[in-house]
């Protein structure tokens, strides 16, 4: 059963509002008004400019195993000219959320990986109306570009959890390391 209802107010595309948060190196722009720096993460909605939203995350079946593929989110913004003060720039945090009540529940979170603009001609008006396609990638893309040479536990062997904790030192994106549990005592006398 296909249900078609307006999704405005139920799905949103958001980016951090750096102007409300204070100066953010690499993201804030000259001329922006700045907050006092005490405000937490503030997200600004972009859904009103967006048209189609695609999110694709998951694994690639690679023979016997699963290879984690880079998660991507793409969407198109109307009347946004990336070359003339558009909303986005590479590396910018963007997320898609479902709004359950007033609570945003992320569907995807990542950083802008690609911005491509198109300027189709409106033959009836003779105007160029810019359309910008934004591609956002998740942390897998960061991990695939992070070099790592070996993993050498001092004892020559380690648990899976210890290995992940060791690899975390190389990561440039947050990792939730599986808990390093103490050995479970199964007998004592």
């Amino acid at each position: 059963m296909i249900i078609e209802r307006p999704l405005l107010g139920h799905v949103d595309i958001q980016t951090p509002d750096y102007r409300a948060m204070g100066f953010t190196l690499g993201l804030s722009r000259l001329g922006d008004l700045l907050g006092d720096g005490t405000t937490g993460q503030v997200w600004r909605s972009l859904i009103h400019d967006a048209t189609e939203l695609q999110i694709k995350r998951g694994f690639i079946r690679s023979g016997l195993g699963l290879r984690t593929d880079v998660g991507l989110m793409t969407f198109t913004i109307q009347d946004s000219d990336p070359l003339h003060g558009g909303e986005f720039q590479p590396g910018q945090h963007v997320r898609a959320v479902a709004l359950i009540g007033d609570e945003p529940r992320p569907l995807f979170t990542g950083k802008v990986a690609d911005i491509s603009g198109a300027y189709p001609l409106n033959k009836s008006t003779g105007e160029l109306r810019p359309r910008t396609t934004i591609t956002v990638a998740d942390a897998v893309s960061i991990h695939t570009q992070t070099p790592r040479y070996g993993a050498k536990p001092p004892a020559g062997l380690e648990t899976f959890e210890e290995r992940i904790a060791r690899l975390e030192s190389s990561s440039r994106s947050p990792i939730e390391v599986p808990p390093l549990a103490d050995p479970r005592e199964v007998y004592a006398f």
């Binding site: 023979g63 998660g71 991990h143």
Partner: protein, 669 residues
């Protein structure tokens, strides 16, 4: 009347000696004497004086005399008397002599002399004090006193007297007759007694000898109890009465009535009336005796029935003996182990003794216990041993299924941890052992052969969800491939979640079901609108080539490759080959990990399986559920009569201003 004559020519020189009197008090005799010259020829005479001398018991006399035998036959030359002293024993023998010079006559001539010895009657006295020979044969209530005679004082001994008392002044002394050896009974235990002796003869009682003294020993304690308490034997006794001078008790335990084989002996203080014998081998009869100590010990306490020491094993927590003990080796308890407390800790005692020569091979005996284990999981046992210093067995080791620990020699009785031993369980139960790890040749009966206590036993299951271990690697790549390598090795997955946080997930079959997709409108299920299903042939593999990345001894890459096949699958479907990179540690106790992982992968993929690959669902049916979907979740997918246990491996959201479709991709668990 003793007369000593000697002829001188025609005459005779005569010395007459008589005992005139005796003075007993002065121990001397009065001797009278007379020197005569006798001649009967009726003619000899000399008006001139002739010299003479006499000696009576050392007293000398001399002078001159004249004689005329024409009118007499006897001329008294001289006479006198003298006191002579007797010897201390009262006897006296004297030498007497008389002499005259030449008489000046032809018929008598001269000179002449006479002499002789004379024993005077002895003077009797009281006997001298005897000589003490000492006191012996001391018991609690009797003593033996001996003395020797020093003489009878010149009079026959009428009797000997011995006097004893409990004081040196002999106040209230008892006097008995004796023949020189007297055993006095009826004395008080622990009391000092003085003894002396004297003789009595016709004159009277002699002087007392010097005093000798001795102390009677105490009565033997009375053993009132000899019984087992726990693993110990305890004796109690009542003190002797009186207990004068008591300094303590001597306590002995033996395995024979003659107390030749003494197994415990020590001294306790005078206020103690209990002694505990510990650490004795079980299954034997033990005898006890106690003596009270003063200057010398009392007699031993009377025999009491022996006690058979039965050591209770206690709650052994399902530990038991391993192996059959060789002939001559006897365990202290029926179980061969007993539970006890050592240094405040619970422990298991392994104790045995030999009744003769015993030969034990390494690993022949020990203790063991089975514990529940999960196949494939790694376990580690740790424990501590402490050896009794007198035990013959020194070396022990741990053992677990398929692996043995290094032997450790316990040189002292200090607690010594054995090296931890790790093994990977292959069944639902694993038996761990503590083994005697040395060859023993005990030549004769020895106690103890084994006496070691095991404490601090800990068995742990290895940390982490996965039993396998990853080996070090010099794999040079990116972080994502390192994540893949680690996850492929153990069956985990990794992904970036909705918040862009990188997470690692357990294998799907270890997770709870998070969502149900169904082709029908069911309560609680997500009613999908499209499905992709069929035979999954892409992941079918019957020839698997696996590379196990690692580091060699030279520090360089050590990446052995192993190929496993499923021949029946190959014959049916032809060879379907694939490769996989792993990073598994494959030395003991994890030596089976690499092989098992390959077998698991091949077993899951050697034949094509029906697969519901994906479903498409309208998220506007339940946007809360849509927002909750996440990669790696376990899902149930229903399609007609097929119910597939699945893991979510792909999520696609296609959102337009009025439509939100979700495509979920699955693998079959």
């Amino acid at each position: 009347m003793p007369t000593f004559d000697r002829p001188v020519g025609a005459a005779t020189l005569r010395l007459i000696v008589n005992l005139a009197a005796q003075d007993t008090a002065a121990n001397s005799s009065l001797v009278s004497w007379e020197l005569q010259l006798i001649c009967t020829n009726g003619s000899s005479w000399n008006a001139n004086a002739t010299a003479w001398s006499a000696n009576i018991g050392g007293v000398g006399y001399s002078g001159g005399f004249t004689f005329d035998f024409r009118r007499t036959n006897t001329v008294v030359i001289a006479s006198a008397s003298t006191w002579l002293g007797h010897s201390p024993s009262g006897s006296l023998t004297i030498n007497v002599s008389g002499w005259i010079a030449h008489t000046g006559t032809s018929a008598i001539g001269g000179p002449g002399s006479t002499d002789g010895n004379m024993a005077l009657p002895s003077i009797s006295r009281i006997p001298p004090a005897p000589t003490p020979l000492g006191i012996d044969q001391v018991t609690a209530r009797s003593l033996r006193y001996r003395f020797a005679s020093a003489g009878d004082g010149g009079s026959a001994i009428v009797r000997w007297e011995v006097q004893y008392a409990s004081n040196a002044a002999f106040t209230a002394a008892q006097t008995i007759t004796s023949n020189g050896t007297s055993t006095v009974a009826g004395l008080t235990p622990g009391q000092q007694y003085w003894f002396r002796a004297r003789g009595v003869n016709g004159v009277g009682a002699g002087a007392w000898s010097g005093a000798s003294s001795a102390v009677t020993v105490l009565d033997a304690p009375v053993t009132t109890s000899w019984a087992q308490s726990g693993a110990d034997l305890i004796a109690t006794w009542t003190p002797p009465a009186p207990a004068t001078g008591l300094t303590g008790y001597r306590f002995q335990v033996a395995t024979d009535t003659a107390f030749v084989a003494i197994v415990a002996a020590f001294t306790v203080g005078p206020t103690t009336t209990t002694a505990v014998a510990t650490g004795l081998p079980g299954g034997r009869l033990y005898y006890v005796r106690v003596a009270a100590l003063t200057a010398q010990p009392s007699e031993w306490s009377a025999a009491v029935p022996a006690v058979l020491l039965v050591l209770a094993s206690g709650d052994l927590d399902r530990w038991s003996r391993y192996g059959v003990p060789p002939a001559g080796l006897v365990y202290y308890t029926g179980e061969g182990i007993r539970r006890g407390v050592v240094g405040g800790k619970q422990g298991l005692w392994l104790e045995s003794y030999s009744t003769g020569r015993v030969v034990v091979a390494p690993g022949m005996i020990g203790i063991q216990r089975s514990i529940p284990t999960t196949p494939g999981r790694a376990y580690t046992i740790r424990l501590t041993l402490a050896r009794s210093a007198d035990a013959r067995a020194h070396t022990y080791q741990l053992s677990a299924p398929g692996i043995s620990g290094d032997p450790v020699t316990l040189n002292t009785d200090a607690a010594t941890p054995l090296p931890p031993l790790t093994w990977v369980a292959t069944s639902t139960a694993s038996t761990v052992r503590v083994l005697l790890a040395e060859a023993l040749d005990v030549p004769d009966a020895t106690t103890p052969v084994e006496r070691v206590v095991v404490t601090d036993i800990r068995i742990t299951e290895a940390a982490g969800y996965y039993a396998a271990r990853l080996r070090g690697t010099v794999y040079e790549s990116n972080l994502a491939n390192h994540f893949d390598l680690a996850c492929n090795s153990v069956g985990a997955t990794w992904y970036a979640d909705r918040n862009n946080l990188t997470r690692f997930s357990l294998p799907g079959n270890a997770l709870p079901v998070s969502a149900i997709f169904s082709d029908r409108a069911l309560e609680g299920a997500l009613n999908y609108v499209g499905i992709d299903a069929g035979y999954d042939t892409r992941s079918m593999v019957n020839v698997l080539e696996a590379t196990n990345h690692g580091i060699g001894d030279d520090g360089l890459a050590d990446d052995p490759t192993e190929t496993v096949e499923n021949p029946s699958s190959i014959s049916l479907y032809g060879p379907r080959k694939d490769k996989i990179d792993l990073n598994l540690y494959s030395l003991p106790p994890y030596d089976a990990a690499f092989r098992d992982r390959l077998a698991d992968i091949l077993a899951a993929s050697f034949e094509p399986a029906r697969l519901i690959g994906s479903v498409t669902w309208n998220a506007q049916q339940d946007m809360t559920a849509a927002a909750a979907l996440e990669l790696t979740q376990r899902c149930t997918v229903q399609f007609r009569d097929t119910v597939q246990d699945s893991q979510l491996i792909g999520l696609e959201h296609t959102i337009t201003p009025t439509r939100w479709l979700v495509t979920a991709r699955f693998i079959k668990l």
